[in-house]
Subunit: 307 residues, 2 copies
Amino acid sequence: MTAPAPDFYDPAAFMEALVAAGLVIPTPVQGGWGRGPVFEDLLQRFDAHVMREAADDGATELTFPPIIARTMIESLGYLDNFPQLVGSIHSFFGKEAQARELSQRVHDGQRWEDLLDITESMLLPAACYPVYPVFSGLLPEGGRLVTVKNWCYRHEPSAEPTRLQSFRMREFIRVGRPDEVEAWRDAWLHRGLALLRGLGLPVESDVANDPFFGRAGKMMAVSQREQRLKFEIVVPVIAADRPTAICSFNWHQEHFSGKFGIRAAGGETAHTACLGFGLERVTLALLKHHGLDPAAWPADVRQALWP
Amino acid sequence: MTAPAPDFYDPAAFMEALVAAGLVIPTPVQGGWGRGPVFEDLLQRFDAHVMREAADDGATELTFPPIIARTMIESLGYLDNFPQLVGSIHSFFGKEAQARELSQRVHDGQRWEDLLDITESMLLPAACYPVYPVFSGLLPEGGRLVTVKNWCYRHEPSAEPTRLQSFRMREFIRVGRPDEVEAWRDAWLHRGLALLRGLGLPVESDVANDPFFGRAGKMMAVSQREQRLKFEIVVPVIAADRPTAICSFNWHQEHFSGKFGIRAAGGETAHTACLGFGLERVTLALLKHHGLDPAAWPADVRQALWP
């Protein structure tokens, strides 16, 4: 492989190349772009590779829509911690006269959102959220393991190609006794690193924190790091010195299990943990490190993804 | 097959049976339920069956997120015609003090949505919408064909299992000369009927109309029917006398091509048409007509879906 060009990590040049190659389809929404057939094929191949690696674990696969009950988001503290990221869904509940006014304002280029009202739903911010209520009650011996692949929404518009408002995560969610859950998280951290290194990505893992809002959030972030509750696997994609997180591991302890009354087989409150691969980000990392033409990727990477 | 029970078309009993069989996972949102592994496998198998049938057409597959630019929805007249179905995405843009107030109101059980503001996006109401801008300009000889499978949102909460707020559509979008587009639509109408009858579903096709809002909408619906712009393929799923649409065909004439400057190879304004399979609805129709255990489905249906 020839040495990377000096602008190897220029995000604007990367985006331009992705669009020129038909991998990314521009839309008017920053971080809301479309995926061309080759991009989407790579994304699905990586997901299938993860699922083959995890096949013996026997995870139950559930599928949820990209919306979630407003009451869930309220009760989980998401509006306390990440208000800047939420997507609240509003619709029109009026009669004829209000509908005419709405239509008129749209045509006049005036603002019209005060004619809407909230619905019972918000956009799903994390693929695993709808899973926890499913676990309510007493778990079987050994706990449970579920996997989901869902569209997530975060309101953080950006022209930077790895920063999406709407993206897919493949997540695994483990629930059980605290020691079972922590051991599972530790084992997957090693497995995730090996899986991504096997695809030729120069990944590293590190303690991390969620993007909590504001001053109080800074303390939450410090506490999360001190307790080592969140790890990320990172790889340079758009900057050599600010690597991009492509996989993250969260140990929630009793955060979800307390709220939904999830008890381990012995009766004590269970722990939960999850890990998620950012499917678009992994795809972008592969394209950045192996080039925009998958036919020319290294033989071992191709063998893993085209088995 | 034994005769259907007297309550064969009781929607509440159907939903209860779907949940008991683990096919549907209840959530607090009406029409926002989760899909168990068997349901999702059937849905993906039907989609793969459609794609095999259409393989020789050489459609280009594009993938878009479940959000779309607000400006697109405004300019396409969706707020004039279907305001009652929209999902407008709102988020929080405030500073510390407003965030504290938001958090306090959430904890006090008070309404908090006036602390949000609109974003640049809305939920995607139809899988084909993001495709039309991609066609802008002069088409190649013979026009173009694209396929998408996207999550759509419609705000119509209901306990009835075929009425979903968030669901997937497999769509094909054809753009070209008016005669090419109409012939393609007619051919697919026959093909869609044959494909669904081949899966043992007692389907019929009929002229249809979209659910336009209000009194003015009634006239739009009559006009759409008179011009035979919309057809549906329907099958009884939750009522014998009110069959459910599981596939629909829309001939938009110049509605999209005029807005996005799409011209046929000869230079004249192109026409567009689309057809979409409602993937959850087809899956529910198969479960209703062949029973909740796919292992016991008729041999020819299994052969088609498990090739």
